[in-house]
C-alpha cells in the first residue's frame, strides 16, 4: 500500500516536470498513478469484499506510539476505488480540456499529489497519519482552487477553503488527541472496535465531527464549496464533487456505528445538519444561472444527504449511505465533466445564454441525461437504486422528520437536476439575444467526451445490474458495521411505500420544474437574514481587527519601551524570586589576580563611557572596548576558544555598527522622557545588580556534578577530539548547532530581503517622482 502512495509522489514530480514539454498531455503521464492504484485495488477486491483486510505496518515514531498503519477494508476499497477510478478518467479528460498554459506543471503535480493524499486518507488506520493526509488534501485543494492566482476572487476562494477546512482540521486533531488518550491507542480500527468511554470522549467526538462537517461542506460551513468552483473544471469534478468533499462523509461513516448508540446527541445532531444542508443546498441550486455553481450547490445538498444517511449509525442506513456515495461520485463527476465540455465548446456556462446544444453535441447530451437522471433518482439508473435503498431504510429504522426532509430534498434535487439539463441543452425561446450561444459551437472531440461517457454508462450499468453495486456497497457497509445484514440493491422492489415516495419525489420535482419561472422569481428576492458566507466574512474581518489592535498595542515602535518592558519583567519575575528565596554566598573573591582587577576596571570604565557619551561613534567604540576587555578576561581565565570568538565577534560588530552609523545622526538626540532620567537610571542599576547577584548565586548553588566533567571525560574517546568546546559544538550538542546555523541562515536572508525591500520601495518612489 505504501508503494502505491509513494508511486503517486513520484508520478507527481515526473508529470509536473514533463508538463513543460508535453503540455496538457502530461495528464496522461499523471494518469499512470491512479491507474496502477486501480489495478492493485482490483487485484485485492475479491478477498476484501468477502470481509478480508490488507494491512501494512511501518514504524514511524515508535517513542510516541505513532506508526504508519495502512488498512484496506471494504469501505477503504470503495473510497480508494472512487479516488483512483475517477482520477484516471479526470486525468484523461484534463489532457483534452487544457490548452497550452504556463502553470500546467504545477497543476498536474498538485492534482496527482492530491490523488495520493486522498488515497492516504482512506487507507490510513492511524489517527495522526490520517490527519496528516487529511491536511495534505486541504493544502493541495487550496493550491488547486487558487490555480488562477492572478484573479482576486480565486485567491479569496482558496483562502476561505483552507481557513474553513484547515480550521476544522485543527479541531479534528484536538479530537484525535483526546480520543487516543481515552482509548490508549491511536489505531483507528482498534478504537472503533472497542469504543472508549469517559468524560473526554463526547467533546472529542464533537471536535472530530466539526472536522468532518467542514470538510464535507455541511451547514453552516458550506460557503467554501461554491467558492471553490474558481478552480478549473477538471479539478472541481475531481476534488470538489467526487472525492475530497467525501472525506468528511467517510469519517462520519467510520465513527457513527461505533459511537451513535452511546452518545445520544450524535444521531440527531449529525442527521439534522445533514438534512438541513440537503434542503439548503438544493434550494440555493434552484436559483443559480452558472451551471457549475448550480452543480456546486447540488453537491452541497447531496453531501448533506450522505451525511444524514451515514451519520445515523444504523446498519441499513449505513449500507444505503455507501450506495449513495458510490452512485453520487459517478453521476456528479460525469455532470462536472459535461459542464467542462459545454464551457470548453460554447465558451459560457450561463444557462441564460445556452440554447440548442442538445442538437449540436448529442453524445454529451446523452451522458448528461443519464447522469442527471441518476441524480434525480429515475429508474433504471444507479441513483434510483441507491435512493430506493435509502427510503426503505429510513422508513423502517428512522422515519419522522428525517424522512420528510430527505423526501423534500430529493424533490428539490429532481427540480434542480431538470433545471440543469434544460439550462445546458434545451432550445429556449426567451433567451438573452445579445449573448446567445455562438453558432459555431462545435461538437467536442470523441476522446474529450469519452471519460464522461464511461461514467454515464456506469450510472446506467449500476442501475440495470444492481448486484455489482450492491456487492461493493455491501462490502463497504459490512466493514463499517458488522451488524449490516441485507446488502442487496434492487431495481424493482415491488409496489411498496418506498416506490410511492419516489413517485411523490418525481411528481413534486416535475411541478417545481414546470413552475421554474415563479420559483426563480420568488427566490430572486435577496435574503435579509444572516448568511453563512456573511458570518464567515464577519469572523475573518473581526479576527483582522483584533490582530490590528493587538499589534498596535504590543508593537508600538518605541525601542526604549520594548527594552523597558523586557528589563522590568526580568526584575519583576526572576529578580523577585532571587530576593525571596536565596542569599548571596559568603565567600566572594573580588579578583583572582591584579591583571583581572585591572581589566575589570577598564571594562567598567568603558561601559560607563558608552552610557554617558552623546556621540554615537564614541559609544560604539566604548562598547567595543567592553567586548575586548571581556575577551581578555576569558584569556586570563584560560578559555582561548571563547576569547577568540569574542574578539572576532566584537570586531565584526564594530564593522556592522560603522556601516549602519552612517545613516544615523552623529549625536544621540536628547529625548525628554515623561518619567525622566531617574527611572532609566534606576532600571539600569537594578538590572545590573540583579545580573551580578544572579551570577554569584547561580555559581554557588550547584548541587549536582557539572555536565562539563562528563564532557571532558568523553570528548576524546567519544567525540575523537581534545578541544572539548569544539566537540560539544559538532558532536555532543550538534543538533543545537544545526538549529543555530539554520537560524543564522534565516536571519541573514531576512536582513538581506528587508534591505532589498527598502531599496525597491525607494526605487519605486523615485520612479513616481520622475513621473510626478
Amino acid at each position: 500500500m505504501a508503494a502505491v502512495l509513494i508511486l503517486h509522489a513520484v508520478v507527481a514530480v515526473a508529470a509536473g516536470v514533463s508538463a513543460r514539454r508535453l503540455q496538457a498531455k502530461a495528464f496522461l503521464v499523471a494518469a499512470l498513478a491512479p491507474l496502477a492504484s486501480v489495478a492493485w485495488l482490483v487485484a485485492q477486491a475479491g478477498s476484501v469484499l468477502d470481509g478480508g483486510t490488507v494491512v501494512q505496518h511501518i514504524e514511524w515514531v515508535p517513542s510516541m506510539g505513532v506508526d504508519i498503519e495502512l488498512r484496506l477494508d471494504g469501505m477503504a476499497l470503495l473510497m480508494a476505488g472512487l479516488v483512483s477510478g475517477i482520477g484516471v478518467l479526470v486525468f484523461a479528460y484534463a489532457a483534452w480540456y487544457f490548452g497550452p498554459r504556463a502553470d500546467l506543471g504545477r497543476l498536474v503535480a498538485n492534482l496527482v499529489a492530491f490523488s495520493g493524499a486522498m488515497l492516504g486518507v482512506v487507507l490510513a488506520d492511524e489517527l495522526f497519519l490520517l490527519y496528516v493526509f487529511w491536511e495534505l488534501t486541504s493544502i493541495t485543494s487550496y493550491l488547486l482552487i487558487g490555480t488562477e492566482d492572478e484573479r482576486a476572487p480565486a485567491r479569496a476562494a482558496a483562502l476561505q477553503a483552507i481557513l474553513v477546512t484547515g480550521g476544522g482540521g485543527l479541531a479534528m486533531l484536538a479530537g484525535f488527541v483526546l480520543l487516543s488518550q481515552a482509548a490508549g491507542t491511536s489505531t483507528l480500527s482498534a478504537i472503533l472496535a472497542d469504543p472508549p468511554t469517559g468524560a473526554t470522549v463526547a467533546p472529542a467526538l464533537a471536535l472530530v465531527a466539526i472536522g468532518a462537517l467542514t470538510k464535507s461542506a455541511q451547514f453552516p460551513f458550506h460557503g467554501w464549496l461554491p467558492g471553490a468552483m474558481a478552480a478549473p473544471t477538471p479539478v472541481s469534478a475531481y476534488l470538489h464533487s467526487a472525492t475530497m468533499v467525501k472525506a468528511g462523509v467517510y469519517l462520519l461513516a467510520r465513527f457513527s456505528p461505533a459511537f451513535a448508540a452511546d452518545h445520544r446527541l450524535w444521531r440527531p445532531a449529525i442527521v439534522g445538519i445533514g438534512v438541513v444542508t440537503m434542503l439548503l443546498g438544493a434550494v440555493r441550486a434552484l436559483r443559480q444561472h452558472d451551471l457549475k455553481l448550480l452543480l456546486a450547490f447540488g453537491t452541497v445538498s447531496q453531501l448533506g444527504f450522505m451525511v444524514a444517511l451515514v451519520g445515523a449509525g444504523i446498519p441499513a442506513l449505513t449500507f444505503a449511505g455507501a450506495a449513495v456515495i458510490l452512485a453520487h461520485a459517478v453521476f456528479k463527476a460525469a455532470l462536472f465533466l459535461v459542464v467542462g465540455i459545454v464551457d470548453h465548446q460554447a465558451h459560457t456556462r450561463d444557462l441564460r445564454q445556452l440554447s440548442g446544444l442538445w442538437r449540436r453535441m448529442p453524445l454529451t447530451f446523452a451522458v448528461a441525461a443519464l447522469a442527471t437522471g441518476s441524480m434525480a433518482g429515475l429508474p433504471p439508473l444507479a441513483g434510483f437504486v441507491a435512493k430506493e435503498a435509502a427510503f426503505e431504510a429510513l422508513l423502517h429504522d428512522l422515519g419522522g422528520w428525517a424522512l420528510v426532509g430527505i423526501v423534500a430534498g430529493s424533490a428539490l434535487t429532481f427540480a434542480y437536476g431538470a433545471r440543469f439539463l434544460w439550462g445546458a441543452f434545451a432550445t429556449k425561446d426567451r433567451i438573452d439575444r445579445s449573448a446567445r450561444t455562438p453558432a459555431e459551437t462545435a461538437a467536442p472531440a470523441p476522446a474529450f467526451v469519452a471519460p464522461a461517457v464511461v461514467l454515464g454508462v456506469m450510472a446506467l450499468g449500476m442501475g440495470l445490474v444492481p448486484g455489482v453495486a450492491g456487492r461493493i456497497a455491501g462490502g463497504a457497509a459490512r466493514s463499517l458495521d458488522a451488524n449490516v445484514e441485507s446488502t442487496s440493491l434492487y431495481l424493482w422492489h415491488g409496489f411498496n411505500t418506498a416506490l410511492a415516495l419516489s413517485a411523490v419525489v418525481v411528481v413534486a420535482g416535475l411541478l417545481l420544474f414546470a413552475a421554474r419561472r415563479q420559483v426563480e422569481h420568488a427566490m430572486s428576492r435577496p435574503w435579509i437574514g444572516p448568511t453563512a458566507q456573511g458570518s464567515y466574512e464577519a469572523s475573518v474581518a473581526g479576527l483582522n481587527r483584533i490582530a490590528d489592535r493587538t499589534t498596535g498595542i504590543v508593537q508600538n515602535g518605541s525601542l526604549p519601551v520594548y527594552l523597558g518592558v523586557i528589563l522590568l519583567t526580568l526584575l519583576a519575575l526572576p529578580g523577585w524570586a532571587l530576593l525571596e528565596g536565596t542569599s548571596l554566598p559568603s565567600d566572594i573573591w573580588i579578583a583572582e589576580s591584579p591583571l583581572q582587577a585591572f581589566v575589570a576596571v577598564l571594562v567598567v570604565a568603558a561601559a560607563v563611557g558608552t552610557a554617558v557619551t552623546r556621540r554615537r561613534f564614541a559609544a560604539v567604540l566604548c562598547l567595543g572596548a567592553v567586548g575586548f576587555g571581556v575577551a581578555v578576561l576569558f584569556i586570563v581565565h584560560g578559555g582561548p576558544d571563547l576569547a577568540l570568538t569574542q574578539l572576532l565577534v566584537e570586531t565584526l560588530a564594530v564593522v556592522v555598527f560603522v556601516l549602519v552609523l552612517r545613516h544615523l545622526p552623529e549625536r544621540f538626540e536628547s529625548v525628554r522622557w515623561r518619567l525622566g532620567n531617574g527611572l532609566r537610571i534606576t532600571l539600569a542599576v537594578g538590572v545590573g545588580l540583579f545580573v551580578t547577584s544572579f551570577a554569584l548565586v547561580a555559581a554557588s548553588s550547584r548541587t549536582e556534578a557539572p555536565v562539563s566533567e562528563a564532557h571532558l571525560a568523553l570528548a576524546e574517546p567519544e567525540g575523537g577530539g581534545r578541544n572539548v568546546v569544539n566537540v560539544i559544538l559538532v558532536d555532543f550538542r550538534s543538533l543545537d548547532t544545526l538549529g543555530e546555523i539554520t537560524v543564522l541562515a534565516v536571519a541573514g536572508l531576512g536582513i538581506a530581503s528587508l534591505v532589498q525591500a527598502r531599496k525597491d520601495d525607494e526605487a519605486a518612489e523615485e520612479v513616481d517622482h520622475a513621473r510626478g
Binding site: L644, L648, G721, R722, N723, N726, V730, T737, I751, R758
Partner: protein, 144 residues
C-alpha cells in the same frame, strides 16, 4: 578613501594579510577538533579577512567580490544537513560521529572524525552570513 588617495601601506598590508588570514582560518577549521578553533571561529576569521579586503578597496560592495554568499549559505546548510542524516543510512543515530584513521601518503597518519564536514558546513554558513549581512548593509549605504 576612494580612488587615488588610498594608502599604499594599507594596500600592500592588506594584500599580504588577506591570504594569510584566510589560510589561518582554514587552519583553525581543521585544527579545531583538538586545538583552539573550529568552524565557527574559523568562519569568523575568514569573514574578517573579507572585511579587511573591502576596507582596502574603500567600498563595501567589494566585500563579497568573487564569491556568491547565498550559494555559500545554501552549500553550508546542505553540507551540515547531509552530514546530519548520513548516519541514518548506516542505521546509526542522527548526527552520530565516527572516527577515521588513514595513512595518507606524504601527510602520514591522518586522524579525523566524520564531524569534520559538519564543521566545514558551519564555517561556510558563518562566512556567508557575515558577507550577506555586511554586504546588504553596505550596499544600502551606497544607494542612500
Amino acid at each position: 578613501m576612494r580612488g587615488g588617495d588610498r594608502s599604499l601601506v594599507l594596500s600592500v598590508g592588506v594584500r599580504l594579510l588577506v591570504p594569510t588570514v584566510l589560510l589561518f582560518s582554514v587552519y583553525l577549521l581543521f585544527a579545531g577538533h583538538n586545538h583552539p578553533g573550529g568552524g565557527f571561529v574559523g568562519g569568523l576569521t575568514a569573514s574578517a579577512a573579507f572585511v579587511l579586503r573591502s576596507v582596502e578597496a574603500g567600498e563595501p560592495a567589494a566585500l563579497a567580490r568573487g564569491v556568491a554568499p547565498f550559494r555559500l549559505l545554501g552549500a553550508g546548510l546542505l553540507l551540515t544537513c547531509v552530514t546530519a542524516v548520513t548516519p541514518w543510512l548506516f542505521g546509526d543515530q542522527l548526527l552520530e560521529t565516527a572516527k577515521l584513521e588513514r595513512d595518507v601518503p606524504v601527510l602520514g597518519v591522518v586522524k579525523t572524525t566524520t564531524s569534520l564536514p559538519f564543521d566545514i558546513g558551519v564555517y561556510l554558513v558563518v562566512v556567508a552570513l557575515v558577507l550577506v549581512v555586511l554586504g546588504s548593509l553596505g550596499d544600502e549605504e551606497e544607494h542612500a
